[in-house]
Structure formats: structure tokens, C-alpha cells
Symmetry: C2
Subunit: 239 residues, 2 copies
DNA sequence: AACTAACTAGACCAGTAAGTCTAGATAAAT
DNA sequence: ATTTATCTAGACTTACTGGTCTAGTTAGTT
């Protein structure tokens, strides 16, 4: 009866299910994971369908079909539709986080001009922000936040907050290195991100419009201009 | 059979239904509107329930109950659940727009210091942005945009876009008046808004956290600082 | 007072979807 | 070859809800 002989309470245990609830098979052998990649397939399909139709509208049948899997298999991996939602969102947030962190890491104090570095990082951050998956994640989160308030922690703890913090770290390094005027690195990070994503937000229309490459570059350049005018130590030759 | 003897196709006519589909009673008399304020009650209730539960989850019964009205009455005013959603969102967007425009209008070239004016306007804009209804509207829009793409035009045409444009107008005036460095007023408007709402967005956690008054003031001040350092004509005495 | 349009309460139908269950297929490990 | 865990297809139960309809009520207008 009990599927795990009572080792863990799975009824609400999304914290476990979310991170790595590997089915038993995975651990039995050495090479292992006979066809447990189905789990990932289900997660991907679930995210896609949830994003497209919304939680309430999304049918588990549809998710199973999109994953190329039987409905029972879905319930084999995830106890609940709700659990599935949390897992899918967590997985997507993790993915978005690593992408963003990789970009933030490129913001070092050494290297050519600070302006050029900021612009490159800016363009890449905008790229991340404009991924279809990113838009879907933000939309889905906004949609279901009132029904499942804990989604906020699942995502915020994995994405927005951590990215801002990582960027703040870099800003602090730049300030210490004398490349940026001293100030609150957290505010600097927030404002840099705001200058990048704010204009994008308006122009992208919640992700329904694809912003052309050139426009994204313009936004990044304008953002860096404004940012540097406020935070650069020596004034760049203007005009 | 046809409720309006075929004058208008009501089956999908949200453009009409949205703006002012007043029931006949309203026009029969002079003083009129016997109890047609029910329409507003329904709209308010619908927005509240849609925002709380999401479109798919929201039951028309629940909306009727919250409006203090029979279900049939809802269908008397609005042909469809879908029509009701559009109408409710449009009404809410209209309201948000007028509030925001009233604030933007306060940004004139005369008056004490430009910095003080910008700060006041900034604080008020943040206030508008943080209204529970504003958050609900943005969340709801994000939630249903994939299902009802036309919602975007209903809202964007009434809110975001118009506000940005109005602000850009003011920026242009300030540039012409020599109070701001000449440049693209549209970009200035976007960046000013971004500097205000970006940090608020992160801190408010999709509207689930109430930002204290002092924190909002800090954000506005920081935004104005950065903005003026980039756009002021003469450098403000720093330090 | 008579008329009329909007309202109410509640029954009702039809469609849909979460979650369970059964019986059988597949494939890794011993 | 046998065992064991997962998988599949699909029927099934249960519950909910959009929209309609009916019968009767309320209140403004003439």
C-alpha cells in the first residue's frame, strides 16, 4: 500500500519531490536509470502545458500526452497535480537561475573598458529575460501566486533574489576596485537590472512580441549610458 | 429571440459591451438608472473573484454571490463569462489609467526644484503601482494573456502605453524648457519608470508584500538621484 | 392600476477533468 | 528464465461548473 513503506510523507512533500525524488530504479543498478528520463519529459511537458493553458485549465491527460507518457505514469512520479506544478516551476526556475548567474559572472573588474563589459552583460541579461521560458515562468508565477503563495519562495529563492544579490556582489567588487563610485551595491544592482528590464518589459508586451536584436542592443546601450552617468568615477567624455 | 433585434452582434462584441452596454432601463427615464448600478457591482465582484481565483477557477456563481446578485442577472448584463472578464479588466484598467495620468500631470516645468517635483511624482507613481488593484490587474493580465491575447490591447492601450507616452510628453516639455538635457524623451520616460518600478517589483514580491512608506520614499529618492545624474543639465552639487 | 423590464431562487443539463483501478506489456537485474 | 518495478491504454467514479430555463417578485413608468 504505502509506496515507500513510510520512509517519507509524500502527501505534501514537494520540498523532496521537487529537488530529487528519484524513483527507486535509479539507485538499483550501476549504470542505472533504465527510462527514468521520463521524469524530465513529464516536467518539461507539464511546464509547457501549464504555461500555455494555466494551472486550472491544464489537463493531466494533456500533459501526459505531450510527454508521450500514460497518465498513470504522471501520478507515479508526482503524487498530485499540485505537486507537479511546484516541481515543474522549480525546475524551470533552477534553469533560469543558472543561465542568469553565468551571465552575471562575466562582470569582472579586469578587462577592456567597463562600459563595453557592462554592455555585453546587459545584452546577455536581456537575452535571458526574453527567453520564451522566462516569460512563461513569470506569467505562470503571477497567475498562480494567489492560489499557491509558496510558489513565490520556490522561485524567488532560486531566481530574482539570487540574481540581484549576485549582481550586487559584482557591483561591490567594482566599487572596491575604484571602477565605480562608492555607494550601496544593492541599489546599484537593482537599478542596473531595472534600466535593462523595465524598457524591455514595456516593449515585449508580456512576451507576446519578439524584440529585434537591434532594439535590445539599443536598450542595453541606453541603460549603460544612464547607469554610468550615475555611477562612473570619472565622467566619460560626453559629446 | 435576438435580444437587441439584431442591431449589434453581441456574441463577441466585447468592444461594445466593454465600453458601455447600458441596459435599456437606463435610457427610458430622465433620472433613470433604477438599480442599474448592479452592473458596477458585478464588474467589481468579477474583478475581485477573477483576481483571487483566476479565470478558469472563478465560478460565475461565486461572482454573483459576491456581487449580491442572482446568477441570471450576471448573464443578463454580460453575455458570457469571457465577455465579463474583458469588461472587468477594461474597467479596472481605465481606473488605473486615470489615477496614473493624474499623477503624471503634476510633473510641470514650473514650481520649486525639479528634484523635489520628480520625487513627489515618483512617490505617487509608486503608490499607484502598489495599489492592490494594480497588482491584481497585472497578475490577471499575465495569467490570461495566452488564453485571451486581445486582453493585451484592452489594457496596454489603456494603461502602460498611455502612461509612458504621457510621461514622455512631460519629459519633452522639460527638455524644451531647458530643465533637462536634450535627448529622446521616450527613453527618458521609460527609464524613469523603470528606476521607480523595477526595485519596487523585486521588493513587493508580486504584491504579496506591503512595502512600508519609508522604503518607497527611499526607492523614489534613489531613482531620482540616478535619473538626474543622467539627465540634469547642470550637475547638482554633489557631496 | 396596469404594464413592463429587470430581478431572484433554484432546478437542470451537458461537458469536462482529477484521480483510481485493472490488466497486461516491457525491460533491467539476478 | 524469473523476478520486480515501471510502464501503457483506457474504462470508471466523482465532483464541479457554464449556461439555460422556469416561475414568481420588484419597482419604475404611464
Amino acid at each position: 500500500m504505502a509506496r515507500l513503506t513510510g520512509l517519507v510523507d509524500w502527501s505534501k512533500g514537494y520540498a523532496v519531490a521537487v529537488s530529487d525524488a528519484q524513483p527507486v530504479t535509479r539507485r538499483t543498478g550501476g549504470v542505472a536509470r533504465g527510462r527514468i528520463d521520463k521524469r524530465q519529459k513529464i516536467l518539461d511537458a507539464a511546464f509547457a502545458v501549464f504555461a500555455r493553458e494555466g494551472y486550472a485549465q491544464a489537463g493531466v491527460d494533456a500533459i501526459a500526452a505531450e510527454a508521450g507518457v500514460a497518465k498513470a505514469t504522471v501520478y507515479n512520479h508526482f503524487h498530485d497535480k499540485e505537486t507537479l506544478l511546484r516541481a515543474a516551476i522549480a525546475a524551470s526556475a533552477d534553469q533560469a537561475l543558472t543561465e542568469n548567474l553565468a551571465v552575471v559572472e562575466q562582470l569582472t573588474e579586469r578587462g577592456e573598458s567597463l562600459r563595453a563589459t557592462l554592455e555585453t552583460v546587459g545584452i546577455r541579461l536581456i537575452q535571458c529575460y526574453c527567453r520564451e521560458q522566462s516569460w512563461a515562468l513569470r506569467r505562470l508565477l503571477a497567475a498562480e501566486i494567489t492560489q499557491f503563495p509558496d510558489l513565490l519562495e520556490i522561485v524567488q529563492g532560486r531566481a530574482t533574489e539570487r540574481i540581484t544579490e549576485a549582481l550586487a556582489d559584482r557591483m561591490a567588487r567594482l566599487m572596491i576596485a575604484g571602477r565605480l563610485r562608492a555607494g550601496d551595491p544593492r541599489v546599484a544592482a537593482e537599478q542596473f537590472l531595472a534600466l535593462l528590464t523595465g524598457p524591455v518589459e514595456i516593449r515585449a508586451r508580456l512576451g507576446t512580441r519578439q524584440i529585434p536584436e537591434s532594439e535590445r542592443r539599443d536598450v542595453a546601450r541606453a541603460a549603460v549610458d544612464t547607469f554610468l552617468q550615475a555611477y562612473a568615477v570619472e565622467r566619460p567624455a560626453s559629446g
